[in-house]
């Protein structure tokens, strides 16, 4: 198996697990954080995966949905561009890019991968991608306006979008397209993806492009206070459950506080 084959397999696997992790987090958020997300929508959304996202720079709308079959679907709509990726539970992948009558399709079934565009298609084994197949693939994909628009859109995504899970999915799609078009895979792909994931999970820090540590802490604290108010207002004054509300608030602000301290003092940890 040559290096390009390894990268193709990694891309397809990467397409599968990143949005899966996102949907898992979206479908089952921690209990105390649900109302906070509703009351302070900007509080942790920069750090948490989100099923819907509109990029500020390009206006591209991204949407993550789970299908009845259990597959995950990432939809992206930008100006004159539609991208849809369907990730099946068994690891199969469907990728479609459409723009102005140009339609590119990449799908994987088991070890078989097929790349098509406007009625022409090339099939090959995911573990046996050779120069001959690459030449045919590039012949099929050359001059694709859908790919050109997609890559132009991807290159102008805002930094906040790039750090989101949907943004990482776009980056993985771009990497897959790059490999299929014969471009050498960047050596820092894995490191960049891990760095992006670490940033997303640990919030951004002072000097980064996202919200600062203080902003994240402030939003968390304000959201926790709003939740606390809602919580105590939902119980009568003699109900001991009010103490649970206070306990939950203390836990949340302590958690946010030490997260803030770590974010401010140990930036190398999240970088």
């Amino acid at each position: 198996m040559n290096r390009r084959s390894v990268v193709v397999v990694l891309c397809l696997v990467g397409c599968s697990w990143r949005p899966a992790a996102a949907l898992a987090a979206v479908a089952d958020p921690p209990g105390p954080q649900r109302s906070a997300a509703a009351s302070a929508p900007q509080g942790r959304l920069a750090a948490r995966p989100t099923p819907e996202l509109i990029d500020e720079a390009t206006g591209a709308a991204m949407h993550l949905t789970r299908l009845r079959s259990g597959a995950l679907q990432v939809d992206l709509e930008a100006e004159n561009l539609e991208v849809r990726t369907t990730l099946h539970p068994n690891g199969d992948v469907d990728l479609t890019l459409r723009a102005e009558g140009d339609s590119c399709v990449v799908w994987r079934r088991g070890e078989h991968v097929r790349v098509g565009r406007n009625g022409r298609s090339v099939g090959f084994g995911a573990r046996s991608l050779g120069d001959g197949e690459l030449d045919q693939i590039q012949d099929v994909l050359s001059g694709s306006s859908a790919i050109r628009r997609f890559r132009a859109m991807k290159s102008t995504l805002s930094p906040a979008t790039r750090r989101s899970v949907l943004g990482v999915s776009v980056a993985v799609i771009d990497l897959l397209i790059g490999v299929l078009k014969g471009e050498p895979p960047p050596p820092h792909v894995d490191a960049a993806a891990q760095s992006t994931s670490a940033r997303a999970s640990a919030d951004s820090w002072e000097g980064g492009d996202g919200p600062s540590c203080f902003e994240s802490w402030k939003q968390e604290v304000v959201g926790a206070w709003k939740d606390y108010e809602e919580c105590i207002n939902s119980f009568s004054w003699y109900n001991p459950m009010r103490e649970v509300c206070a306990f939950e608030w203390v836990l949340r602000v302590e958690s946010a506080w030490f997260k803030f301290l770590g974010c401010s003092c140990i930036p190398m940890k999240v970088e």
């Binding site: 402030k218 604290v221 304000v222 926790a224 206070w225 203390v250 602000v253 506080w257 030490f258």
Partner: protein
């Protein structure tokens, strides 16, 4: 308890107390006064308070 240990305890306890206090301070303060200096000031005050309260008492003369 050595002095270094005492200082470490003061800092840790102060930081632990500073979390809720800083959160309450932030909620109470008006928006224009909510700056990054607020949590650090609260943390410093909390550590100083803990250090003051935990300092050994001098025996009465």
């Amino acid at each position: 308890m050595s002095k270094a240990t005492a200082v470490a305890v003061n800092v840790l306890v102060g930081l632990l107390l500073a979390g809720p206090v800083a959160a309450l301070t932030l909620v109470v303060l008006p928006e224009k006064w909510r700056s990054p200096a607020v949590p650090w000031a609260v943390a410093a005050a909390a550590i100083a308070l803990v250090a003051f309260l935990r300092q050994p008492k001098r025996p009465p003369d």
